[in-house]
């Protein structure tokens, strides 16, 4: 492990970190371009691309008509022919419209062409449950996309990993889906001035501990950390890992933790059925069964279309109190 004694830092918000990473990559490689609804003149619905169209022009930061399937496919065609496009889904839910292209072309084209064409595309956008945005704007597309062969999926949760993952995703030769969260764009953090790129496949150790492994990602990381404060006060020592890579799982970091604590709690925002948590539970059972002292516990959102009413919405997602209770039960 290398220690930098003179790391200078600057403070910014998560959406600014994403933009900084994007801009650095666009400066570095003229083939990197952005496509999406309102990414250009409007600057992006969450301001991730603010100012970029002025700097790079309307072709490099392309305002598309509202036609997700077609402009995602267009990005695939552009990637096959030498460009490195970044497609923004204004809300990840809208990418349901683009499922055809994401599954068949992003995911499979490298294989069906016998390796002749690569698709170095990044698909990114905000997803997850927000504040009373209604069912359709509150979706967790990572559940639906995870089975598509040939893609990678990562989720950012801090300004630091947002910038690093954005850069890594752009540089990757594989199609990468970068999940951002509607409620995390205004998180503030001091990040290094010096350039850095993170690994797409690695998980992030948030808080080392001994008693229980808590695996989480995106917004739920913050509910977990809130619960961790309570747990620490009660005398527990949870190990918190932000898995970051939703596909593939970093089985090394996860495995080492399981071998240490022997207890696993997964806290996710996907629904109970068929989410990332379900897959992760299976992977842990398959690979680390011998190290478990208790069955893997997975806390997920309810299998419910996210209701508009604030109270109901609160009950659909996992809250810190539930996490505390689950750990207490797991560690009994």
């Amino acid at each position: 492990m290398v220690f930098h004694f003179c790391i200078t830092r600057h403070e910014l918000l998560l959406f600014e970190a994403l933009r900084e990473g994007l801009e650095e990559e666009m400066d570095r490689d003229p083939r990197v371009c952005v496509m999406g609804e309102d990414v250009g003149h409007y600057g992006g619905s969450y301001k991730v691309t603010k100012g970029l169209a002025k700097k790079y022009g309307d072709l490099r930061v392309l305002d598309t008509p509202i036609a997700e399937n077609s402009f995602t496919g267009m990005a695939v065609g552009a990637a096959m022919t030498g460009l490195r496009p970044i497609v923004e889904g204004m809300n990840m839910g809208f990418l349901l419209l683009a499922f055809n292209q994401i599954s068949n072309n992003c995911g499979m084209l490298h294989y069906t062409s016998g390796g002749q064409f690569k698709i170095p595309i990044v698909i990114r956008g905000p997803g997850g449950v927000g504040r009373q945005l209604g069912a359709e704007h509150s979706q967790r597309l990572e559940s639906y996309f995870q089975s598509i062969p040939g893609i990678q999926m990562v989720a950012c949760s801090t300004p630091y990993n947002a910038k690093g993952l954005m850069k890594a995703a752009i540089r990757s030769e594989n199609p990468v889906i970068l999940f951002e969260h509607v409620l995390l764009y205004n998180l503030k953090e001091r990040i290094p001035d010096e350039e850095y790129v993170l690994s797409l496949e690695e998980a992030e150790m948030v808080r080392p501990g001994e008693h229980v492994t808590i695996l989480t990602y995106s917004r739920m990381r913050y509910h977990v950390m809130q619960a961790a404060k309570t747990l620490v006060n009660k005398g527990y020592d949870p190990e918190v890992i932000d898995i970051r890579s939703l596909k593939p799982f970093d089985l090394y970091t996860i495995g080492n933790s399981v071998k240490k604590t022997h207890r696993v709690l997964i806290v996710e925002e996907c629904m109970r059925t068929g989410g990332i948590g379900a897959s992760l539970t299976a992977a842990i059972n398959e690979n680390f069964h011998d190290y478990l002292d208790a069955p893997v516990v997975c806390l997920s959102s309810q299998d419910v279309p996210t209701p508009y009413a604030g109270t109901l919405e609160e009950w659909t997602v996992v809250q810190p109190a539930q996490i505390v209770t689950a750990v207490e039960q797991l560690c009994r």
């Binding site: 496919g73 267009m74 552009a78 022919t81 069906t112 390796g115 062969p149 797409l200 799982f249």
Partner: protein, 438 residues
């Protein structure tokens, strides 16, 4: 881009009923120039009417012309055919003939091989439509792109993919153009810029639009002055009712992308007649609605297709944007080798059979003394040898081994992730054997 495109002027009402004697499309006569440019194809001295005047530097009239009519006139006008007045030279004629014969012979061999159990799954043959593939693709440069559908064998051959590579792919061998991983519906070639082969209709059109976008991007952003690649997107009548078609017409016209949308209207989408599926069956009309010319052409006549293609491709290369070309064509066989083809009227099939594009070109070349029978026979013999060689090559080629299973899933196999031992999965020696656990 603010000027409105003129509404298309229809000079005579189109027939709404269809009977066996009446052609599907009435020939439209328009006084305006064909696709706004080719003066050599203009026969009447009439100028565009005043109501359609607008800045000519930005726009050409979005005129619809039945080229069959135009080309027929040209031929009759100059019927004391000295060689210089013909539409093609001898060399061109032989090239076109050879390409169409290659396509036909290849597809016929596919049918044989399929029924002998050498290829499997869904195989869609192109018999009867050769004029469209040959007419368009033979005008392209190597760096131009072609994007096709599941009916892609002949597009691949016309673009230059060797018959051996295509046949081998159909046999599922490692020497296939896609290492046996794609199959009949997924022909790709990086070398020849064939962007697929797609199983779902419509999903290739955005990919083609993307290739055209890259061409424009390279010219305008990367400042590669010489880059003027054109993309051809081929698809059928059924696809023209699909959202991706319309979305891409819009984007291509909006950004003036160098693309030609080629509709191979063979009147049938498996068992669904085009007329039963489409509110307005005249597909070429949908071009002007999006701000591009729409042209209808007789897709059974390679020379007519070629004349239209020349202009459409030139338009795209000049940076004037897309064109929608509807080729009226016909597939002599069923939708796929699994299709019993019981719905189509034998009289309809007979009518189109009589317009076989290969026979038509042969007749044209012989009547105009471009070639003699012997030269054409020599081509046919040569093609037979090519096909036989392709089958033999496919037969002798190896089947993929287990180690190929996990290759090519990712361009960067780190995408398989990190295993419990801390190493990337792809570093596992069993990975290349195809037995690694992922």
């Amino acid at each position: 881009m603010s000027s409105a495109f003129p509404a298309m002027k229809i000079l005579q009402p189109l027939s709404t009923t269809r009977s066996p004697e009446k052609p599907l499309f009435d020939l439209l006569k328009s006084p305006s120039s064909f696709l706004g440019s080719a003066s050599k194809l203009r026969f009447n001295a009439q100028k565009p009417s005043p109501s359609s005047s607008y800045s000519s530097s930005c726009h050409r009239p979005s005129t619809i012309v039945a080229v069959s009519d135009v080309v027929k006139e040209k031929k009759t006008l100059k019927s004391n055919s000295s060689l210089s007045n013909l539409l093609i030279t001898k060399e061109e004629g032989l090239e076109l003939y050879e390409d169409m014969v290659l396509g036909r012979a290849f597809e016929d061999m596919c049918a044989q091989m399929y029924y002998r159990g050498k290829m499997f799954g869904f195989v869609h043959l192109y018999n009867g439509q050769e004029a469209v593939s040959t007419g368009f693709i033979k005008l392209l440069k190597q760096e131009d792109y072609v994007c096709s559908t599941y009916r892609d064998h002949v597009h691949a051959l016309s673009k230059g993919v060797p018959a051996r590579a295509v046949m081998s792919e159909l046999f599922g061998k490692t020497t296939g153009c896609c290492r046996g991983q794609g199959g009949s519906m997924h022909m790709f070639s990086k070398e020849h810029n064939l962007l697929g082969g797609f199983a779902f209709i419509g999903e290739g059109i955005p990919v083609a639009t993307g290739a055209a976008f890259t061409s424009k991007y390279r010219r305008e952003v990367l400042k590669e002055a010489g880059c003027d690649s054109v993309t051809l997107a081929f698809f059928g009548d059924g696809t023209c009712n699909n959202g991706q078609f319309f979305e891409c017409l819009n984007m291509a016209a909006l950004w003036k992308l160098p693309i030609v949308f080629v509709v191979e209207n063979n009147l049938w989408a498996i068992g669904m007649s085009h007329l039963r599926a489409t509110s307005d069956p005249e597909i070429w009309k949908k071009g002007p609605a999006f701000g591009m010319p729409g042209v209808h052409v007789d897709g059974m006549d390679v020379l007519k297709v070629r004349e239209v293609a020349k202009e459409a491709i030139a338009r795209a290369r000049r940076g004037e944007g897309p064109t929608l070309v509807e080729c009226e064509t016909y597939r002599f066989r069923g939708h796929s080798l699994a299709d019993p083809d019981e719905l189509r009227d034998p009289a309809e099939k007979a009518r189109y059979s009589a317009r076989d594009p290969i026979t038509a070109l042969k007749k044209y070349m012989i009547e105009n003394n471009l070639v003699n029978e012997a030269e054409l026979k020599a081509i046919e013999r040569r093609i037979d040898e090519v096909i036989e060689d392709a089958v033999e090559f496919g037969d002798k080629s190896p089947l993929p081994s287990r180690s190929q299973l996990l290759e090519n899933v990712f361009a960067d196999p780190k995408g398989f992730g990190i295993g419990p031992d801390g190493k990337y999965r792809c570093e596992d020696p069993k990975f290349t054997e195809g037995t690694a656990h992922v």
